[in-house]
Amino acid sequence: MPAFTAADIESLIPRLRRFARALTGSREAADDLTQDTLERAWAKRELWQAGTNLRAWLFAVMHGVFVNGRRRGRLTESLDAPEHAARERADDAASAETAIAVRELREALLRLPEEQRQIVLLVGLEQFSYAEAAEVLSVPIGTVMSRLARGRERLRQLLEEGSPDRHGLRRVK
């Protein structure tokens, strides 16, 4: 008897896809990551405890899949075909100015260390509480807070520096 049904997680797929897209920077990598996560979650569904937070549990599964893929040197870093990226940007953003801001944000995100990127996205985009984020990542809440602080500050610096192609040369510190 499964602890949750396919329909239970069906409704959470858009959330998983959104997080995966922001995390990997690529539509293909994100959908691969999401599909792998769904399959792993389904295979391990007996391990989920009824009554606990299914969304946090699914994100924890995704975190595991992501870290495993990372350890093995996955392909996805260079995955995003430029035409895909361009099309997405055009779709996502109503105005050219927004498009530039979105692109700069995506690029800055990918330059964050992964552990900071994850936490910035879990809290800032997915709006997990700090306690839930700690559960997703299997780290103490103090670690969540310190990574969040470092991640947000680094992201702020990256966005203030601007993208290198807009300013020609980036300042070297």
């Binding site: 396919a6 922001a22 293909e28 959908d31 691969d32 399959e39 260079s78 995955l79 801001a101 944000l105």
Partner: protein, 256 residues
């Protein structure tokens, strides 16, 4: 960073709306007196808003991912729907592929590993003008027998003539750690314009079939799948649709 009760963690909790009214009032007072912290809080809030602007559209995108409930839900993999839409294939082939997806508990990591190995091998060997292969296609019988013997299972060199690619030959690659100790076969093909495709074939430790999947590394695109004891990865620097059509042709020949 700051003195008093309003520490770094409190500022973030303020940004994330995780404070009680009383705590929030304290932080408001602090920010009124500390312009640098106020600027940071403003920037962090703007980050959260920008993240939503950038990625919320994903929530509304159509997708065909599904929970891994292969027995209950038809496996409509989005890659496949894309590949199939771009390719005219017979119902039998679609059936066979859906069946492969249906069996679905795939080993994602093994599948990704084969794609990586194929992309690396493609990049290493296809630029070779004089020695792209160890055994040329003129000796195809020997080539296939040799590779079958070394892999310890029958392998075939599918014909890609209908897609415009001639078999150049093949070579043996060292085993990839994650796929056991058996060596790996690489077939190479070339079309009239000199474009090359490589088909990597190797034994897979787990014999769970997968659906077709797609990956890319730089300009090298790869379609890969696991079919029984063997994993296959077709790599090339051609368009995704064209590559998927060739991959379908390979699959069709190997599963008549």
């Amino acid at each position: 960073m700051t003195g008093g009760p309003v520490n770094e963690a409190r500022l973030h909790a303020y940004v994330d709306g995780a404070l009680s009214d009383g705590e929030r009032a304290e932080v408001d007072a602090h920010l009124a007196a500390h312009a640098d912290d106020a600027a940071r809080v403003g920037a962090y809030r703007a980050q959260n808003e920008a993240l939503h602007r950038a990625f919320d559209p994903v929530l509304d995108e159509p997708h065909s991912l599904h929970p891994g409930a292969a027995r209950h839900v038809p496996p409509a993999r989005w890659r496949w729907s894309a590949a199939l839409a771009a390719t005219f294939v017979g119902g039998a082939v679609i059936g066979a592929i859906l069946h492969a997806g249906w069996q679905g508990q795939r080993t994602g990591r093994a599948a990704v590993a084969i794609a990586r190995q194929a992309a690396l091998a493609h990049a290493a060997y296809t630029p070779e003008v004089r020695h792209p292969v160890e055994v040329s296609a003129s000796d195809e019988q020997h080539l296939v027998a040799w590779l079958s013997k070394r892999l310890g299972t029958p392998v075939r060199a599918p014909s890609l003539v209908s897609a415009g690619y001639q078999l150049l030959g093949g070579r043996l690659l060292p085993p990839a750690g994650e796929a056991g100790s058996a060596p790996v076969a690489l077939f190479m093909y070339e079309n009239a314009q000199g474009k090359r495709l490589s088909l990597l074939v190797r034994r897979e430790p787990s014999s769970s079939d997968t659906a077709f999947r797609f990956a890319a590394q730089g300009s090298t695109r790869v379609f890969y799948w696991i079919d029984g004891p063997l994993g296959y990865a077709l790599a090339g620097e051609i368009g995704k649709d064209e590559l998927s059509a060739v991959a379908l042709g390979v699959y069709r020949q190997l599963n008549p």
